[in-house]
Amino acid sequence: MSEVSPAAPPRPRGRRWSWTDPKLRSQVIQITVAVILLWLLWSFYSNAQSNLSRLGIASGFGFLDNRAGFAISQSLVPYNESMSYGRAFLVGLLNTLLVAFLGIILATLIGFLMGVARLSKNVVIKALASAYVEITRNLPPLFQIMFWYLAVLATLPGPRQSWGFGLQPLLGAIGSGLSSIGLGFLGGPLSTYAATLAAPGVFVNNRGLVVPRPIFEDGSMAILYALIAALILSFLLGRWAKKRREATGHFFPVFWTSLGLIIVLPLLASAAMGFPVGVEKPELRGFNFVGGLRVIPEFVSLLLALSIYTGGFIAEIVRSGILAVSKGQTEAAHSLGLRNGPTLRLVIIPQAMRVIVPPLTSQYLNLTKNSSLGVAVGYPDLFAVFAGTTLNQTGQAIEIIAIIMAVYLTISIVTSTIMGWYNKRVALVER
């Protein structure tokens, strides 16, 4: 709130208050607006307070310690219905962050892939990418969530008829297939052999995806340490390679070496400790699979819908970013002897990022906020758990809406800050 008019003439000495004095005028206006704003806020507050107390409605944040009493179908931290509303809030918040975080990664991958594909010289790839963008961008996200939930995932078989994945069902299916087309002499033994193999550990049904749960026994920490060591080594390697390249012009395959390190070091550590990681396989007992890890279909449909929907927008942003880099850059890179891949990776994309990052931030924020649509398919995100169930059970609308606002605002500001920092890094450095 600095001066409104920069070219204010010097005020003549001894002259009193005048409406024509721009400096004084702007101060009077600013103070008036601030007072009105404060008075507005205060009247909202006092009005709400008096209405609430007249109607005998509870207020304050004490309810956060009360027993929640309701169950939540997905939780990253231990939760049961005897825990507090505060705990339920944490569960909802983590569920929102989980789907937003994975959604942003997935949408970015899809978006970059499709954005580049739309510029491909291959007609089929180009047409496919265009169709993808036009379809996903032009259908409402709620519809897409319902589509994945009701039209795709709900049609999967029930737990008893689950699709199992593993060698056994595959070979078994091939065996029975061969038998059914009259090649019983081949199919029969194959089916028999398949039956001797271990049962599958991965199942897909209309209750979600079930996979074996790793059980970390004593000595598992060594694997974690090895992984951390590998990551640090890769980082150092990258710096060393960059220095060497700048000094000598020689390339070093950093990516593949690092990948090798990250895979081999933990494996070695695990072998040294005598393979301390066991597996808990899911088993069909009664209604459902017991044991193992499970991904609920509400989460899958929300994640798919959000990433695919936002991916369509990101594809267009990426395309516009690449097109914004002048053709001369490509030609210059080619004339230096760079092939298509490195040209895109080393010359075009870094310059395109300047155009891509600011609108990309908006898409990330949109994805995060759209995750509140998960309530339609029963995904227990922050909005469903807190602004839905908790609000309904406690009736404390003002407090809960204020908390929800603060949380979404915080998530958005943090995302913007990170992207802003990244934007500064990729911005064109003018010399």
Binding site: I36, G56, A71, E81, A154, E298
Partner: protein, 336 residues
């Protein structure tokens, strides 16, 4: 600029304040705003001409008949379980008649008053026949669908805990339709809700005969109409409309015979129908208010039989909802 802001602020603070005299507002508006379900056969559901019918709907019509002598002067607002309380608190509706369970927190800290119990219900489980279960005690590791914002959502956890059982998951959906769709698609093994609602939902499923209600009733669900705190006259009016329906049934006053009953010499009937005393004025209406109500909707028994009774598709026996004189617990205080 300042003046505009001031005017806006004044409007906003006015909009925030809920008017106390609900009856005056209803009369001035010429219609009662009544919150109902988004479609639950027997309780409140619209037909293809958007005409609403059901037990909860008839209760609102009875209030309108008492005030306007016209049961059609009601504006029905369909609400999900999640949104119903906000609508009542904000003043968007005058009365919530939407199979809502009377609980202490709703009656106190949420800021509402329950006017009575239109239907004594209890929570049950709907399950596929093919699963072959005999009892809710066998629901170990089951996936359960429930509608969010209901007392059912809270009861189910308590029931499993009390019986030392574990559910696999409870999936809460925002609306009844979404919950039913998820149950039908096989996302859950059981759907839990009030038994009356389960009976109505079962009829809407593709093949009702494939589904069955488990015998257990795991909770008390007294369903009734409610109003917001802060207007005692309106609370009295809604409460006594309910009692008038019960007392009329007890005294044998029906839609058909109400005109003859006005000539009755029975002092109880005379007081109820306003030929003796001016009891209706105590709630801001005229003495003959009950005559108008009964002419419009009939007594409680007639409303019950028409919407959920044995002769309807729902086919629910009176049971607890019979009058206290006939083995039930419906009981209207005397008009005196």
């Amino acid at each position: 600029m300042k003046r505009i802001l001031l005017a806006a602020a004044g409007l906003l603070s006015l909009a925030g304040a809920v008017q106390a005299a609900t009856l005056d507002d209803v009369k001035a508006r010429g219609a009662l705003n009544c919150g109902v379900t988004q479609g639950l056969p027997g309780f409140s559901s619209p037909n293809d001409k958007n005409e609403w019918s059901g037990l909860d709907v008839d209760f609102c019509r009875a209030i309108a008949a008492g005030i306007f002598n016209d049961p059609t002067k009601v504006k029905f607002t369909p609400l999900s379980a999640k949104d119903r309380f906000t609508a009542l608190t904000s003043g968007a509706i005058d009365v919530l008649s939407r199979n809502t369970t009377w609980t202490m927190s709703r009656d106190t800290t949420l800021g509402f008053n329950f006017a009575g119990v239109m239907y004594y219900d209890g929570q049950g489980f709907l399950i596929r026949k093919s699963v072959g279960l005999k009892s809710a005690k066998e629901l170990q590791e089951a996936s359960i669908c429930v509608q969010t914002g209901t007392s059912n959502e809270l009861n189910v956890g308590d029931y499993f805990r009390a019986n030392n059982m574990k559910y696999r998951e409870v999936i809460a959906f925002a609306t009844l339709d979404e919950t039913v769709k998820a149950y039908e698609s096989g996302r859950c093994d059981v759907f839990t809700s009030d038994k009356s609602q389960l009976a109505a939902v079962r009829l809407k499923l593709t093949n009702p005969a494939d589904h069955v209600l488990l015998p257990e009733t795991i909770s008390k669900e007294p369903l009734g109409p409610l109003v917001r705190h802060g207007d005692d006259q309106w609370f009295d009016l809604v409460k006594w409309t309910y009692f008038a329906l019960l007392n009329s049934e007890e005294l044998g006053i029906t839609q058909k015979n109400v005109d003859e009953m006005v000539k009755s010499e029975n002092p109880d009937i005379k007081r109820l129908l306003g030929t003796d005393g001016k009891y209706g004025e105590g709630i801001g209406l005229t003495p003959d208010w009950v005559v108008r109500i009964i002419k419009a909707t009939g007594n409680y028994g007639e409303i019950y039989d028409r919407n959920v009774g044995p002769a309807t598709p729902l086919g629910i026996e009176r049971g607890l909802n019979n009058l206290w004189t006939k083995g039930g617990i419906q009981y209207g205080p005397p008009v005196r």
